[in-house]
Point group: C2
Chain length 549, copies 2
């Protein structure tokens, strides 16, 4: 067997060859940090292609369904912009232009012949995280050892998206193992943040987030084990949704820690237009995925739940705002975004009360420990295929390596899972008793909180994931919505003060110079009840409208 | 601390004292095997009490709601019959007559004052397996080490049943650890089968089954990890339902192997009248148990699914009959019951085709191995409280002890869980492709199969559980319905033949004398799709009606 570095070199050559030569551009030098304007000024895209790629998902679907725009034209436009994005922030893994365009042409043909769309996503190009197997393509998840493994069939979600009329057109970068909050691996390298390339996109769905932020894709699929849809969406200014376990099919995708059944990873949408959340979820759930994936919950898309029948039909909602989680205090831009959101909601006639977090440290820690129960064995088994090293840091200079702890017994794992289960019950009761404080007769309708204590930060500093991971632990669906961008004048460093502990101070110290984070998107998280995706989407739309009003 | 045998003796004394002296009877000698007639002839029950206890659940609820019968009268009648049953087959653990009658009187009072029922189970006495904690009572699960632990609150399901108007009135016997297919422990001893006390009731919900078979309870709650609702129901001639994971709340109940999240135990109804299945499930699901138990699926009771909208509205159904599982061939009474059911369904206008089992041995074995991953440590931790021995056999003479295997690592457990997950996908696809064979355009609507390769058998021979456990592994809801009883003339031993293997022959040899099993109930199992409880209940009603036609 060749040395792993040689396997990488060959794969990189194949990737390079998959890019049409005529779509190569001259990207700005690395010192140009904000590259969000580049795709529209580089000269590769026509005015019409710029118009198409700036169009929201819902309008795209209307124009595709009416035949005003063909899928070939739409797919070509997004593909070109995706390839530009890749040259700026290194966001793609698998590139398969011909295949996608053949599929798009088939859909155009079908519409022309029958006058009917294939399904609710007819003609729409959709990008996929590098876990969603497509027949005939490799899916490496950043592992050198998985290079050369060509899928014999599509993941179930890919089949369903195709049934719905979508055009899967690129796959996007992840960290080796997926078990990181940033995006770097030996094969495809590091994905950077389009708003500031010295900052991270977060991870593990970091390629997806960077691509969509540059409008190289209207809608993408990420996965979320501890925040991997939400933090990248938040760091790149997108909308994203982490559904509950078993609402979106995972079957046939590849992953780390397979067989870890207790707190599973889930797939969900990431998009630059809010309509994409409902469009994706409704299409996938209406396709009855439980007939293809045994772990999917048999639960129809519920338009009543979307219309908030359990939440006073959406009038006079009561939101709980969590200013901090009692462990790490968020940086000034996050605090400002929470204040803006509170003011906007109150102006729109809704009530906002404080949310008191309980046991967030315990919930995050115990869930991390469940993941770690067999992680080392899992990573060693996979990497033993080629002997590639296991990446131990996301820092540019390799400092602060992560020491992964060894495995535990099944019985010990059960004790962790029992503790998590019991804490879920405490949190459920904690939520229910808020009915006495809201004045609506209902418990708090949704929680609004940070997605992280910071915005996009320099590489290697993804220290704290509990702001997202607690909701995985509790299996609460959670969305991301954009609020503002960092403004060093408005978001000055606050004076040093008392801290929860040294770790809280370490995170505080990261925000030593607001200029470092200038123009970084600031997004927040909206959290609902288990399997209440419909209501979470609608309430996100309500918050978004209030912020834009 | 006193010796464990002394702790047992004291608990036994307390149990004895909880029985009203005036309800003690002179039970027939042990040599009287069939005791099903005894309750009505022993003289303790009045004619009205006999009428009440012979009434179906649905009619009881009507008479209770109309005030024709009071809850005090109904509860008293069932309590007396339950105490008689206990003296015959040793089926009860906790007995709390005063408390139940106070509750019944409150309900009667409420109805008299308001003219309204408290809920859909108003006034109905319900028996509970010895896992469902009731505030102020012990829940030992057959462990000496748990004697003296008085619950500080009700299990969630108990709270919900009370909200629905039910009267929890007794708790019922289980094997030590619950991890047995029979019912015996050091505290309460052995529960025997009312149809033949030399035979087992099966387990672990064996006390519940024996009680209901003697009409000492109209409706009870059992639990099912690998068949513990279904085999006892089948061995005692009852209706029973094993729902999917997370349809009925488990929170706040005690159990073995807590934290084992992959293939959890579930609660479900056991009853002597078929209407009890729907009545229980609809009442519990409509109470929105997901607001009290974080593991319950947010899924309303679906009357459309009950009306079989996904199954051609119940006309011209197509059932798959599984004659054997490819591992162990069932005894002659089971085969006759399958033939009777097939004939009845065809006569009623439905189609019946053969169901081809795939990978049943693998599915059962891997699920057993998941349970065993930490069982030894779990049992040792619990029993270390008093030093009580761990029971290693259900045989009367202690032969054939079970050797439990030691624990494995979390990573090894994940590999088992991954194998089970992948096999679930294979089975799902296997079911879906039957659409090409049914002639209905749909896949097979339900599977009909044995609940075990045998009927109720002599103690200690519960060798094979895969006929139920595969459906736990696949998380398919499954019901039990009665078909006939063993008739040694009709159910003669079949001549020796070729066997799948030695184990198949060992099970064949158990049926050496049909007289051993004379008059034992013969029930079958109906299996549907995950989270399709409503349809499984309706199809069970259809099969039951066809058999009675």
């Amino acid at each position: 067997m060749p040395h792993w570095t040689q396997i990488v070199a060959e794969k990189q050559q194949r990737q390079l060859k998959s890019i049409p030569q005529e779509w190569l551009v001259s990207p700005p030098p690395d010192s140009t940090l904000d590259v969000t304007g580049f795709p529209e000024t580089c000269g590769l895209l026509s005015a019409r292609e710029i118009e198409i790629t700036n169009t929201s998902t819902d309008v795209l679907l209307e124009k595709l369904a009416s035949g005003e725009w063909t899928s070939v034209d739409v797919t070509t436009a997004f593909y070109k912009r995706a390839i530009i994005a890749h040259q700026l922030v290194n966001c793609l893994t698998e590139i398969f232009v011909d295949r996608a365009l053949v599929r798009a042409a088939e859909l155009d043909d079908h519409l022309k012949k029958t006058g009917k769309v294939v399904g609710p996503l007819h003609g729409l190009p959709i990008s996929l995280k590098d876990q969603l197997c497509i027949k005939g393509l490799e899916t490496t998840v950043g592992y050198v050892s998985w290079i050369g493994q060509y899928a014999e069939k599509n993941a179930v979600l890919v089949d369903i998206l195709i049934e719905c009329g979508a055009v899967p057109f690129v796959r996007t970068n992840v960290p080796q193992t997926i078990m990181w909050g940033e995006t770097y691996n030996y094969i495809f390298g590091r994905t950077t943040n389009p708003y500031n390339r010295s900052l991270t996109t977060s991870g593990s769905s970091g390629g997806e987030a960077a691509l969509i932020a540059l409008k190289g894709s209207p809608l993408g699929v990420g996965s979320d084990l501890g925040g991997s849809i939400r933090r990248p969406s938040a760091f790149c200014g997108l909308y994203g949704l982490r559904p509950s376990y078993g609402r979106v099919p995972y079957c046939g995708a590849v992953n780390s820690l397979e067989g870890q059944d207790s707190s599973p990873s889930v797939f969900g949408p990431m998009t630059s237009s809010i309509g994409g959340l409902k469009t994706f979820m409704k299409a996938v759930v209406n396709a009855k995925p439980w007939l293809k994936d045994p772990l999917v919950v048999r639960k129809q898309w519920d338009e009543d739940e979307y219309n908030l029948v359990d939440h006073g039909s959406g009038k006079n909602l009561c939101f709980g705002i969590m200013w901090d989680d009692g462990v790490v205090v968020p940086h000034p831009p996050i605090k400002r975004a929470l204040e803006m959101t509170k003011a906007a909601l109150e102006k729109a006639g809704h009530k906002v009360i404080d949310w008191k977090p309980i046991k967030h440290k315990l919930l995050g820690d115990v869930t991390r420990d469940v993941f770690n129960a067999g992680t080392v064995e899992d990573l060693m088994m996979v990497t033993s295929g080629t002997g590639e090293p296991i990446i131990s840091t996301m820092e540019l200079d390799g400092s602060e390596p992560l020491l992964r702890t060894g495995g535990i017994t099944a019985y010990q794992l059960w004790q962790l899972q029992k503790l998590r289960r019991d804490t879920r019950k405490e949190y459920l009761d904690h939520w229910e008793v808020t009915a006495s404080e809201t004045g609506t007769g209902r418990p708090v309708d949704a929680i609004i909180c940070p997605a992280a204590p910071y915005v996009a930060h320099p590489h290697g500093k993804s220290w704290y994931r509990h702001y997202t991971m607690v909701w995985n632990a509790l299996d609460y669906p959670a969305s991301i919505f954009p609020v503002t961008t960092v403004d060093p004048t408005l978001d000055a460093r606050i004076p040093s003060h008392e801290f929860y502990d040294d770790f809280d101070k370490k995170v505080y110290d990261m925000y030593d110079d607001p200029e470092t984070f200038k123009n970084a998107p600031v997004c927040l998280q909206l959290v609902g009840r288990t399997l209440e995706e419909e209501a979470v989407i609608k309430m996100t739309e309500i918050v978004d409208a209030a912020l834009l009003a």
